[in-house]
Symmetry: C2
Subunit: 385 residues, 2 copies
């Protein structure tokens, strides 16, 4: 009946389903536990008729022409280049920190001197990690590095990861960039935009193939069992001979037998305003104030013309399976070790393929998971098509 | 695995699924051929962010407190009382034809005289079928009956049903009312409104029960077979022991073995306007002009505040299975005979229940199908709960 069962209707699951159906004429069943397709990129209209992203703001950007062309089969794009302002010392300045931020925050004499030194040492239009800034034996640049570290990075990161400052790994934190540029965009990728009619519409088109069936509201374990020893899959109490592509959490697949993989989660607080727009750009980071990390206004992203506006604040919190959603894997040696135990076990189960942010315990941007799915498809079937 | 399989996620299928899951703790699979739930009542946002009804305008109205209370568990309501204007002799006047229409169309001397005669003969605030008007031996009222018949009813009906005027049955056409009232509303039901967040959101809540699984994009015949002789149902190549509730076309169920049941279909032409609103009320009927029957502006119905407006024109056409959708059963003796043949066969298949507008070959309003589904549920299981 089905050649493939795919768990999860996010970017990975939908891309693979689309490829298998349209390129190999395979019959695919997608099982999705939520009541909608699209995974975390799902968007919908709220009760005020504003198009929102239910699982936090998603901006599409990629350097990959392949990924862009692939998705462009299923959507047109609204030209949109995301800008983020950070609230620093009472000013809202571009982040990543750049020359415009410098001039907004520092008196012009100092700003001009710093600008000259930055350009002198590193050139124009380059991103310099503060670790590199610190290596220069110039007290002005050292000062700048420390300023950016403290005001842009430190408190935001502490909030986001719920860690103590001293727990931060300096080699990692040193990657925070100063962007010697007047480019205020958050991303510099060649391809940037928002699906003209939203992500969900794009997913609907990807899954519109008659060979693809989608079953919503269903945890795959309600219908399937995998005997990992015998390498046997049962689907609706019958042996299933096809392949299973699993894009859910890998630890859940194995009933957490080695323990739970830790994640950070988010609480989203949506707010509606009578105003046409309430902030100047898509996202404002509250780097040093309040207990939410950032606030995003969807109309900037979508360009929607509608009365009133909806924003979302993100509050970072621990992940508790069953209570909230797993968003950001917490990378450390212990957790990676744990993941690898699961991965080894997963690799040994021939009829199951694990792919995606939850199955691979890795933060991926959308374009990265699409590239991952296309790559996987080519690797598995490149010779057939 | 499943106690019930329901074909169709419209009002009938969704109501029965909700009742079976929430009241009897049954496990239900809904199989739906479209890529969305809600049946013909499905609404969604178009590419301009306007909430539209994809299968024609749906206004909810009922006299049944039971139906209203039942649906109110899943939605709040926007207070909305539908008004329709008909384009008659170059004026847009209320339909059903009422005293306001009379005064807009007729010179005041004549209008006053007719008004007095109408009230004198029938009283105030009553709906009088033109058949009754014709029975009064008053040439003014006879004239009015003929006027309403010709200008409000005749050409509209010819357009809608694609028939010749002489093919119309006078006992049926005589039911057209003159409403001796200044009530411009299209419906006089106690309960009227639009689901505050749309029909689809309401359906999502009805189907949110963990016992209900929905499979989209799937014609049930792709997964099931019914052996009508042996009364056996197979689902995914296995015998299915539960009950099948079928809300699709009854003739399709039996592979059209006795022939196809005829329907009228519609072509919908959606148009988007830069204006805030383009007509004065929800629907304007083009009784005597153009080849569409009516045009509806969704923002009147939904109250949405958004830039621009979307309307839909309805063009009546013949139904061709596989090419367009079946909307209005064409009632005549031959067709009813044909339906009854299918019904007798259907009744003989114990594990299958046929319900809804397509399975019963009958035009039902939304409240009527909900009442039907609730009644069916009580009839089948009233003793259990
Ligand atoms: C707050 C936030 C903001 C982001 N912003 C951006 C951005 O701006 N740009 C960008 O490129 N990327 C962004 N991302 C990343 C983006 O969300 C991911 O790249 C993408 O969602 C990964 O797709 P996926 O298919 O791997 O996983 P998902 O989208 O999570 O899909 C997995 C699906 O599997 C389903 N599932 C899980 N377990 C089961 C089960 N047991 N049974 C059935 N179904 C199951 C889930 O319900 C889910 O729908 C952001 C992520 C977060 C958290
Ligand atoms: C133009 C128009 C306007 C209307 N306006 C109003 C109004 O203003 N007010 C009002 O009260 N009523 C209105 N109605 C009536 C309303 O649409 C119906 O009462 C209601 O849709 C009936 O619900 P149902 O569940 O019986 O059928 P449907 O809503 O048609 O649901 C049946 C479902 O079964 C699915 N299906 C069919 N065959 C298969 C198959 N082989 N496999 C899988 N799935 C299948 C279909 O895709 C569909 O989703 C209107 C109808 C039309 C046509």
């Amino acid at each position: 009946m089905f050649d493939y069962i795919i768990v999860g209707a996010g970017f990975v699951g939908s891309t693979l389903a689309e490829r298998l159906a349209s390129q190999l004429n395979k019959k695919v069943l997608i099982i999705e536990q939520r009541n909608h397709i699209g995974g975390n990129a799902y968007d919908c209209y709220d009760e005020h008729g504003v198009l929102i992203h239910q699982y936090g703001p998603h901006i599409f950007h990629t350097r990959s022409k392949e990924v862009w062309d692939y998705l462009s089969q299923f959507t047109d794009w609204r030209t949109y280049q995301h800008e983020v302002l950070g609230l620093i010392d009472g000013h809202k300045v571009p982040v990543p920190f750049n020359l415009n931020s410098l001039h907004q925050l520092f008196p012009s004499s100092l700003a001009n001197r710093l600008e000259e030194k930055l350009i002198g040492h590193f050139g124009y239009n380059v991103k310099v990690p503060i670790l590199k800034l610190r290596e220069v034996s110039d007290s002005d640049l050292q000062y700048l590095a420390q300023y950016v570290y403290e005001k842009v990075f430190l408190n935001y990161t502490v909030k986001q990861w719920g860690v103590k400052p001293e727990e931060l790994d300096p080699t990692v934190t040193g990657r925070v960039p100063v962007y010697i540029s007047r480019d205020n965009r958050y991303f510099q990728d060649v391809y940037q935009g928002m699906p003209s009619h939203g992500y969900t519409k794009m997913f609907e088109r990807m899954l519109a193939h008659p060979n693809i069936k989608v079953m919503l509201n269903t945890d795959y374990k309600e219908l399937m069992a995998v005997d990992t020893e015998a390498q046997l899959i049962t689907f609706m109490n019958q042996p299933f001979e096809g392949k299973l592509i699993y894009t859910g959490p890998i630890d859940y697949f194995f009933d957490y037998k080695f323990g739970k993989l830790p994640y950070r989660s988010l609480r989203f607080q949506f707010e509606h305003w009578k105003d046409d727009l309430v902030q100047d750009v898509g996202t404002v980071n509250y780097n040093n104030n309040y207990n939410f990390t950032r606030m995003t206004e969807f109309k900037h992203l979508t360009g929607q013309k509608v009365d009133g506006s909806t924003t979302v604040k993100e509050f970072s919190q621990d992940y508790v399976p069953g209570q909230n959603d797993a968003y950001y894997p917490i990378k450390n040696d212990g957790n990676l070790e744990l993941y690898k135990k699961y991965k080894r076990l997963g690799d040994s189960i021939e009829p199951v393929i694990f792919a995606g942010r939850l199955a691979e315990y890795q933060y991926f941007d959308m374009d990265a998971v699409v590239a991952r799915a296309l790559g996987l498809f080519n690797q598995l079937y490149g010779d057939v098509i």
